[in-house]
């Protein structure tokens, strides 16, 4: 039972990582009805930037927010340069562009930093602490805390501030918002910047566990897809809960189902994606989509 609880807690910790990346996906989906296939690679690039800063002697707690700012600027820049020219194109075109972006960013990271896995520092020691009879590592607790803070911040930003309201309005009713004087195009760029920053959090949290290298996020993005699909791809809350469910499920399946073991955990994510899409395409919290003729 104790071991089971420990698996659940570490599942929640990695679930927090998936949830952050899934939330980034949802932010962009809500802004323009697009799943950003480059989200993981953008997060990986941001993590490399954080690594460089820390490597140069910057303290972790300064490097962390600095990286988020850089990631935000990078996200805005990407939207302006790469996405805007095809904003009105069919979804197929947009998806292909984000895939190109993923390959491009991945290759650039390999080009600049090489493919050797690097140890990424974590401010939280890997020492375990006894919480209500369950041994939890500080690192897992730290990941849960940081993810929680970020998700709360995004929630407050979207629901409680004017800029959040404007962003949501621009996403849901672009025409009406434009008439009311909202600069819809810049709101999209803002959405990309925000998503990029949230994704960067997930990358920085994942790096101490997975080791930093250009393909680090390739598996994490699959789990994040599973989380976003499970929670409903247009629901921020759904992404968070979906992330936690996926994290715990994958961890438990890896530990207790001998057939899955360590190397088929990714297949569990694929199974979740396909099952949800076939049985309940809107996920747990998504709004049902209505097609009008």
């Amino acid at each position: 039972m104790q071991e089971f609880m420990q698996q659940v807690v570490s599942g929640i910790a990695i679930g927090g990582i998936f949830a952050s990346l899934a939330l980034a996906l949802v932010l962009i989906y809500n802004a323009m009805g697009l799943v950003n296939f480059a989200q993981g690679e953008m997060a990986m690039m941001a993590t490399f930037i954080a690594f460089t800063l820390i490597d140069r002697g910057v303290s972790y707690w300064i490097a962390f927010p600095a990286t988020l700012l850089i990631a935000f600027a990078g996200g805005v820049a990407i939207q302006r340069v790469v996405i805007r020219p095809v904003e009105r194109a069919p979804v197929l075109t947009l998806v292909i562009v984000t895939l190109g972006l993923a390959a491009l960013v991945n290759g650039m990271a390999g080009f600049i930093y090489g493919y050797l896995p690097r140890a990424f520092p974590s401010p939280f020691p890997v020492v375990t602490v006894n919480v209500l009879g369950v041994f939890v590592s500080y690192r897992d607790l730290g990941v849960i805390a940081v993810s929680g803070v970020v998700l709360l911040a995004i929630y407050l930003l979207l629901q409680r501030t004017t800029i959040g309201l404007t962003m949501r309005a621009a996403a849901h009713h672009p025409e009406a918002s434009r008439l009311l004087g909202v600069n819809v195009s810049w709101m999209l760029a803002l959405g990309w910047g925000l998503a990029s920053a949230v994704g960067a959090v997930s990358g920085i949290m994942a790096a101490p566990i997975l080791f930093l290298e250009p393909n680090m996020m390739q598996t994490v993005i699959i789990y994040a897809f599973a989380a976003a699909v499970l929670g409903g791809v247009d629901s921020p809350l759904g992404a968070v809960i979906g992330g936690l469910i996926v994290g715990v499920t994958v961890n438990l399946a890896g530990a207790y189902i001998p057939f899955v073991g360590g190397d088929l955990q990714l297949a569990v994510a694929l199974a979740i994606i396909i099952t949800v899409l076939v049985l309940k395409p809107n996920g747990l919290f998504g709004r049902p989509s209505v097609r009008r003729v």
Binding site: V95, L104, I222
Partner: protein, 363 residues
């Protein structure tokens, strides 16, 4: 007969020229290069399959690498374990993969293009670890080593008469691939010009309108998926024949990206597009990797990084640039400029004769 040939459109002549060039190619290049061209043609076949799905029926699959893997492993297991003649296993692999694609297409029906891309993306990433698991069947990480194909006596003799050299297994693989490519491209050409192709394009351009016109949406969408997978399966099987081994890392996720790049570069919804795309997608990283080390101004440490990261960077940049500036790929650029040129020439004639130029056509 002669009249018919004279009246045939120019593109028929072009097709004949291309076929003759491809037939004669191995007689002028080395055996190693023939092997390379065989792989480019294999990519072209897989890209043709992807093109039927993406270009003509408007569904996006990022998992065609997985279907190639299924085809390759079907052939490899049949040939290695059950000693079936490899040539015989190719259509079997194609059919099996086609059925698998058809079955995958049934749940895919319920998905929008976006979700389908997502599910197939996950499929492509998971494939290598899925292959590793049934060790008894797939030989796990080690993979399966295949015997190089032995050309039949007739082909050997014919090749020796033409070139004076003995035919190698690479050259034989090239001709087998070319034969399959020819048949499959011809089938695709017929498919898209007739009922099924029209139905698929109608679905792509407007599902509701197509349904209202009596097109069986579910049927044609799954059909497109099945046919597309069949092409990928045959390509995968040929890939195993040309590399001489299959292992899980032969089919990484980047293979699916390479296929997509090829489809986009050549031009979606065109028949010659996949051929051009396959050649480009195959030779681009090879030639850029050969070119970089010869450039002395690039420091050697950077050169090695370019070799590893280069394909991803060029593929990524190409995908973005083409989608933004030339969404119809190379074929679109060529036919577009040809049409513009002809309009301009005709316009000049019309001006001389005092007629108003005809309404410009929209692409």
């Amino acid at each position: 007969m002669l009249q018919r040939i004279r009246n045939a459109p120019t593109r028929y002549g072009l097709v004949v020229v291309v076929i003759i060039l491809l037939l004669g190619l191995p007689t002028v290049i080395s055996s190693f290069q023939a092997g390379e061209w065989a792989q480019a043609l294999i990519l072209a076949i897989a890209i043709m399959g992807l093109n039927i799905l993406v270009g003509y029926s408007g569904q996006l699959s990022l998992g065609h690498g997985a279907f190639m893997a299924l085809g390759a492993y079907t052939s490899a297991i049949l040939a290695h374990r059950y000693k079936v003649d490899y040539l015989l296993t190719i259509p079997i692999a194609g059919l099996l993969t086609g059925i698998a694609g058809f079955l995958f297409g049934v749940p895919a029906l319920r998905l929008s293009a976006l979700y389908l891309a997502l599910a197939t993306f996950a499929l492509a990433v998971v494939t290598p670890s899925l292959i590793k698991r049934p060790v008894g069947l797939t030989n796990g990480v080690q993979g399966i080593i295949l015997l190089p194909p032995d050309p039949p006596q007739l082909a050997k003799d014919a090749f020796t008469i033409v070139t004076g050299r003995a035919m190698t297994s690479d050259q034989w693989t090239y001709y087998v691939t070319l034969a399959f490519a020819f048949v499959l491209f011809w089938l695709a050409w017929n498919l898209v010009r007739h009922r099924a192709g029209r139905a698929m394009r109608a679905i792509r351009d407007g599902e509701v309108a197509a349904a209202a016109s009596g097109v069986n949406i579910a049927g044609y969408k799954t059909l497109a998926f099945g046919i597309s997978a069949l092409y990928a399966g045959i390509a995968g099987s040929l890939y195993g024949m040309s590399t001489g081994f299959v292992n899980p890392d032969t089919f990484p996720f980047s293979l699916s990206i390479q296929l997509l790049v090829g489809a986009v570069i050549g031009g979606l919804a065109s028949i010659p597009g996949p051929l051009i795309g396959g050649i480009f997608a195959y030779f681009l990283p090879i030639y850029s990797n050969q070119w970089v080390p010869t450039q002395t101004w690039i420091p050697s440490q950077i050169a090695s990084a370019v070799e590893k990261a280069g394909p991803a960077v060029t593929y990524g940049a190409l995908l973005i640039v083409i989608m933004i500036f030339a969404p119809n790929g190379i074929v679109g650029l060529i036919t577009g400029s040809y049409a513009r040129l002809r309009r301009r020439l005709r316009g000049a004639v019309d001006r001389e004769s005092g007629q108003a130029p005809p309404e410009s056509q929209t692409a």
